[in-house]
């Protein structure tokens, strides 16, 4: 009897979520007059808190603002944790997720992705005296990185025999590298170059390996099946690309004058397909 009740409750909740999925999210957003977007807020320069204004700013924020403007509503940014990105989206607490989200095949079963908004290579940094000059030489060695992202699976793909150790924050992983608890440290190129820059005079003891371990396509996360919302997000991104605005936003946050110091932009906002 008890079991039957539970089964009935489960069936009812499945039915309710089914109904909720049929409602059009874009119409809801217009009705409430705001677009709620989940961001990390700790991921400079994608989304971070400006120390002067205490506002969340960054590359992804500029894209989100353009989307909200296109829909004709107010953007509302909500800070979320890395692990909470997808649950928050699926439970409808946020309309979009712009939080350094990697678009991969496994995740496609859970949510939809916008056009690719950023392409980053993941790279490795090693101590110079380790004698390592090339990614394959990391085979059989201990490699350190941050947990919860795509870094670990990507190292395993690039160097299957590497022994990977991961930490809660990139600072911890980087400290482990400095203490010599591993020969290499892997992260997204932009983040890696930032950690490298912080080394100061010690930089001479380290080398950033040139070869990419992987190429990551980052995108904005959209709840599965919300084709109306996905349409307007993708249209906005395409328009930004066409008008040259996308290029300007990139240079503003990642260009040669910034700490990231990217000389060129090697991607365009044009496709939502990944390899």
């Amino acid at each position: 009897m008890r079991l039957n009740l539970i089964a009935a409750a489960l069936a009812a909740s499945a039915l309710l979520t089914g109904i909720a999925a049929h409602a059009d999210q874009l119409a809801d957003i217009k009705k409430k007059g705001e677009l709620v977007v989940g961001v990390l807020g700790t991921d400079e320069p994608a989304t971070f808190i400006d120390p002067k204004t205490r506002q969340i700013v960054g590359y992804e924020v500029d894209l989100v603002n353009a989307i909200a403007k296109k829909i004709g509503v107010k953007p509302v940014l909500k800070q979320i944790a890395v692990a909470a990105r997808i649950p928050e989206l699926q439970q409808g607490h946020v309309d979009l997720v712009a939080a350094g989200l990697t678009h991969n095949k496994e995740r496609e079963a859970q949510i939809d992705f916008s056009l690719t908004t950023f392409v980053t290579g993941q790279k490795a940094i090693v101590k110079k005296d380790s004698g390592i000059t090339d990614v394959p030489q990391l085979a059989g060695k201990k490699v350190l990185t941050i947990r919860g992202g795509t870094q670990e699976p990507n190292i395993r793909k690039a160097v299957p025999t590497a022994e990977v150790v991961t930490f809660d924050t990139s600072q911890q992983a980087f400290q482990a590298l400095q203490q010599g608890k591993g020969v290499g440290y892997v992260d997204d190129e932009a983040a890696l170059l930032r950690s490298y820059a912080k080394l100061g005079p010690q930089k001479a003891q380290y080398v950033v390996l040139k070869q990419n371990l992987s190429t990551e396509a980052l995108a904005i996360g959209i709840k599965k099946g919300e084709s109306g919302l996905k349409g307007v997000v993708d249209d906005t991104l395409r328009e930004l690309e066409k008008s040259g605005e996308a290029q300007k936003i990139f240079v503003k946050w990642y260009g040669p004058a910034t700490a990231s110091g990217f000389q060129t932009r090697d991607f365009k906002l044009e496709s939502d397909k990944i390899d």
Partner: protein, 231 residues
Amino acid sequence: MPLFDYSLLLTGKYHDMLVAGLLLSLQLLAASLVLALPIAMVVALLRLSPLAPLRWLGFAYVETIRNIPLLAHMLFWYFGAPELLPEGIKQWLYAGHIEAYSAIIALSLYTAAFMAEDIRSGIRAIPTVQFEAGRALGFGFLGTMRRVVLPQALRVTVPPLISQTLSLWKNTSIATVIGVAELMYQAGQVESATFRSFESFAFASAAYLTVSLAITGLATWYHHRFPVRTI
């Protein structure tokens, strides 16, 4: 919410990752338990020693360890303590499984502090006349402990020790913070790769629950098989 996908848990590489995590967690439990028990016994005896400096030593150990969170112990034994070693030993250690070693040291020392208190209580539960009788028969402090008091005390102590084992089992999950690929760690990895949070943590929860229940079952069985002798 998407439906629960059992296939993730039963086969494939994510299944293998979760099982590898479970096995490592069990290894951490076994190694830490084997180290913690003798340390706990020594500390308990220190705290009951007739010599005041030894009693203070035992007291200092229990209070410093017990009043600092396990998380801080983990980070200390991984990031802090090994840095103090001579260069040669350090490099040798870092090339090996320093993460697991640090976790085992942190878990054993931490658990030992609690177990020492349980053992001390067990010893104190034995009427002092037993101890005095031992001494009267000509045994020394350690001799009296070994031949008269401890055999009775350990019987009283086993249920609380099993309860500490239960805590130890759950505490192995904290080794995640220093990169030990135990069960919680692997559940987190599977989650970040697939976003199947519900399934991966359901596996972890079920595994913790199963082993915990087995430990509890052991306690109940022991209690029936070897009841405390009324004195």
